[in-house]
């Protein structure tokens, strides 16, 4: 066995715990007959023992405190970003909620102008929608952001959003109540944001659950 090459290689393999059984027995045989290699291996092991005998030194007493002082103060945005990363489901829910709210608000803004569901044959005077005498509205009537005056007939439900029903209480020439508008259905007035929202949600559910 070549002392400088093979034996040396096997010694290091032995020290690394990489040696196979076969290699180990070959090294053993060689070492028994080679004093130089024995010394070499002994010196290697001794060098390791010597460096392991060195004292452990400790960090200065205020080391940790100094580190803590130097840690960056977290920016709020970083905190939020990390929170978002760690709670993906809640983040998705929050974003969904945000979109729903903005959707409702934009719908609210959009709805601030006068709207009538079926304006045929109706008279619109400023903010007031009039169902003239002798006119019959077939189906439901929805008026948004305006008042409604019924002189004719509505064959269905009436919904008033942000407006009210004008009761024409002025006596006319006959001395009778001239305005005898007829509503053959429910009359609903919705005039506040929350009620309006509730109304929209109800509608949403109705549209979801109606199978027609």
């Amino acid at each position: 066995m070549d002392c400088n090459k093979e034996a040396l290689e096997l010694m290091h393999k032995h020290l690394d715990g990489d040696i196979t059984r076969d290699e180990e027995s070959r090294l053993k045989v060689h070492l028994e007959g080679c004093a130089d290699c024995q010394t070499h291996l002994h010196e290697l092991k001794r060098a390791i023992t010597l460096i392991q005998s060195t004292e452990n030194i400790k960090a200065p007493d205020d080391f940790a405190a100094k580190v803590m002082q130097q840690l960056p103060v977290e920016r709020k945005s970083v905190k939020y970003m990390r929170w978002f990363k760690m709670h993906p489901v809640l983040t998705a829910a929050a974003i969904f909620f945000l979109f729903t709210i903005t959707g409702l608000f934009s719908a609210w803004e959009h709805d601030s102008q006068l709207m009538v569901s079926n304006p045929e044959n109706l008279i619109i005077k400023g903010d007031t929608v009039i169902v003239p005498e002798g006119v019959t509205v077939e189906g439901d009537l929805v008026v948004q952001n305006g008042d409604l005056k019924i002189e004719g007939t509505v064959d269905g439900n009436v919904t008033l959003i942000n407006g009210s029903l004008v009761e024409d209480d002025s006596l006319d020439s006959n001395g009778l109540m001239a305005s005898v508008g007829e509503v053959n259905g429910e009359l609903k007035e919705v005039d506040r944001a929350f009620e309006w929202m509730w109304y929209r949600i109800q509608n949403l559910f109705k549209s979801i659950f109606s199978f027609e």
């Binding site: 290091h12 020290l15 010196e43 010597l50 460096i51 392991q52 960090a59 200065p60 840690l71 760690m86």
Partner: protein, 187 residues
């Protein structure tokens, strides 16, 4: 202990800065010692060790919890010490590989007998002498010898810490051991 540290790391990841102090306290001696041996200078060692912990804190989210935390922390510290050593000029010359040789540098060209260790022994205590011999190893052997024999990492872990192939780690462990043997045989 690993379990407690793992728990603390989770807390730090959740934004609990105070939990990081326990991590520092647990590793400070090891990391400080590692830096001190790498740099051979207490003042620089403190500065670099602190920097290592600060970087670990800042980058805690890139730490993969399936791996050993100490491996990750040592990697940061070792990289910082190597950067610092590169900035120092004089070390460079002896550490540079000699042209036309594979992995041989000026240290391997120096005959071990050039110095008379016995003379130095008279001036220095054994401990200091050994420390000095470790410090005189070229950084790329020094880091590996320290990680292997003073900090008890496996060759595989050292390969991860230094980000070099395991074959290279083995070669350097062998050379480092041989260099130490020459330096310490007369003790």
């Amino acid at each position: 202990m690993e379990l407690i540290i793992r728990d603390k790391i989770k807390q730090v990841k959740k934004g609990d800065q105070a939990a990081f102090e326990d991590i520092v306290l647990f590793y400070q001696d090891k990391i400080y010692q590692h830096c001190n041996r790498m740099l051979g200078n207490a003042h620089e060692a403190e500065e670099i060790a602190q920097e290592a912990f600060i970087r670990a804190y800042i980058n805690i989210h890139s730490y993969d919890e399936r791996r050993k935390f100490s491996t990750w922390l040592y990697r940061i510290a070792t990289n910082l010490t190597i950067d610092r050593l590169r900035k120092r000029k004089p070390d460079y010359y002896l550490d540079a590989e000699v042209k036309g040789t594979e992995g041989l540098d000026m240290y391997s060209q120096l005959a071990a007998e050039d110095k008379l260790p016995e003379d130095e022994l008279e001036e220095l205590e054994l401990q200091n002498y050994i420390q000095k011999q470790i410090a005189e190893l070229p950084p790329k052997y020094r880091s590996i010898i320290m990680l292997r024999y003073l900090e008890d990492f496996s060759l595989q872990e050292i390969s991860e810490i230094l980000d070099i192939p395991i074959g290279t780690v083995k070669t350097r462990v062998h050379r480092g051991r041989e260099a130490l043997r020459k330096k310490l045989r007369h003790v």
